[in-house]
Amino acid sequence: MIQLFHVYKSFGSKNPALIDVSLTAKKGEFVFITGPSGAGKSTLLKIIFCAEKPTSGHALVDGRNLNRIKDRDLALLRRKIGVIFQDFKLLPRRNVFENVALVLEIMGFPLSMIRKKVHQALRYLDLANKEGYYPPQLSGGEQQRVAIARAIINNPLILLADEPTGNLDPGLTMEIMALLREIHSRGTTVIVATHSRELLKDTRRRIVTLNKGRIV
């Protein structure tokens, strides 16, 4: 599902964010990417959903070479990847319903179907009574759940989560992790980038550790 071959990524003259990273994640796998802040975890996820292109090396996602992908194909590929961003990336001037509905609107779903699916997702994430609220009116945990709802609304093949519990208290952290496990149990490939050791304690999932841009 995800294959990275000798990927390098540098931003100008600064130290490279990724150095010779090769990684494979099979369909339906659950992988933790861990490492200290600045290790390159977020950059790695950005390469996978093509917010950044590798400086050298190759990245293949769902059989597509991201170095050579066309704009339209990239848009279609991104619809198969749900991303929970560290900063949520919610649209502040659209309410919860509109933020979650966005992906389905992009895909051209009819309005009746969008309503049904969004209500379902909001109920699932315990946000049913918040659908008319705007992101700035929500707590960090609620915004996180809206971001998750948007990421999973179209049952993506891959779910990428960048520090999904970074802003949450321990109770909510467990809740979010349980949610990610449930999404994984439906067959979705889940990649979680985190620096939290607590989250990795006792896990039987595969853990990839990055340090200064290299897999260690």
């Binding site: 959903f49 917010a51 704009d71 339209r72 848009a75 279609l76 590929l77 991104r78 619809r79 990847i81 991303v83 961003f85 990336k89 919610l90 649209l91 001037r93 659209r94 966005l102 992906v103 609107e105 992009i106 895909m107 051209g108 009819p110 948007r150």
Partner: protein, 297 residues
């Protein structure tokens, strides 16, 4: 593009305008000013053009009498004139009417004329010689014929002046097209930058839309519709301001050029429609140009 998708994009565009009211208000205001300058230029140009064409088709002629003509003499001359193709009698100005007119023009200084024992101003008959009715109507022939009449002192007409004016107008037309084009480009530049501001204020939104799988068309279309709506609103405001200025200021001015007064007419409904369509297209082009640089995510 499917109807449902267009409806979705249109709804989205309207929703975006309402969500970003202030930015759009500034945009519409700036566009209105740019269009107002352009439309005002068009109004002046269209009127000057119309006026020269009118003048080219007909010319004013003044027949001055040696003395105040007797009624019978005047009626005979009028009859003679009406035999001449394309002639319309405009009005007779008696010596007293001429004096009154001068006094009116002098205003406060009209008292200067009180010292005159005899009214030195001649009576005159103003006629219009229309050429489109009969191409053979020669003002020179008419002038010669009239000057043979005993009571007629002199005949003057605006031909030379019109010919000179037409040459000037040809030059003005050329300058007008160049200046109008430059003005349009300036308006487009201002509008493009205004729309760029609108788009820049929503660059995060564009980024998010693209990251969750929106195609370029999906992101661009509402912006293009917004630009077109902004263009339409800016163009409409400009026309309304121009019309209000026209009825409050221009219609009260008494503009006289040569023998005739210059009546400024407002733009025709077809012209207004054309300017509105142009405003919409300008908004659309402005959006297209502005969007270019935001699609490298």
């Amino acid at each position: 593009m499917r109807i449902t998708f267009f409806r979705y994009f249109f709804r989205q565009a309207v929703a975006n305008i309402l969500r970003n009211r202030l930015v759009h208000l500034v945009g519409v205001g700036t566009m209105a000013i740019a269009f107002l300058i352009f439309n005002a230029f068009v109004l002046i140009f269209v009127n000057l053009n119309h006026w020269t064409e009118e003048q080219g088709r007909s010319l004013s002629m003044s027949i001055y009498f040696k003395e105040e003509p007797e009624r019978v003499v005047l009626e005979n001359i009028k009859k003679e004139l009406l035999h001449f193709p394309g002639v319309t009698i405009k009005r007779f100005i008696s010596k007293d009417d001429a004096m009154e007119s001068i006094k009116g023009q002098l205003g406060d200084k009209a008292g200067l004329l009180d010292g005159l024992k005899v009214n030195p101003l001649p009576a005159s008959l103003e006629i219009i010689l229309s050429r489109d009715k009969n191409g053979d109507s020669s003002p020179y022939q008419l002038k010669t014929m009239l000057e043979r009449i005993d009571s007629v002192d002199e005949v003057q007409y605006s031909q030379e002046w019109i010919e000179r004016f037409q040459a000037i107008m040809e030059a003005i037309k050329l300058i007008g097209i160049i200046f109008g084009g430059l003005l349009f480009l300036a308006a487009l530049f201002i509008i493009t930058n205004t729309i760029k501001l609108t788009i820049y204020s929503r660059k995060d939104e564009i980024e998010i839309l693209k990251l969750v799988g929106a195609t370029n068309r999906f992101v661009k279309t509402p912006f293009l519709i917004e630009g077109s709506i902004q263009g339409f609103l800016g163009g409409s405001v400009a026309i309304i301001i121009l019309f209000l200025s026209y009825i409050t200021v221009i219609t009260r001015l008494d503009l006289r050029v040569g023998f005739t007064s210059l009546d400024i007419v407002f733009l025709s409904p077809q012209f207004i429609l054309l300017l509105l369509i142009m405003s919409i297209i300008t908004g659309f082009i402005g959006s297209t140009i502005s969007l270019g640089r935001f699609f490298r995510i």
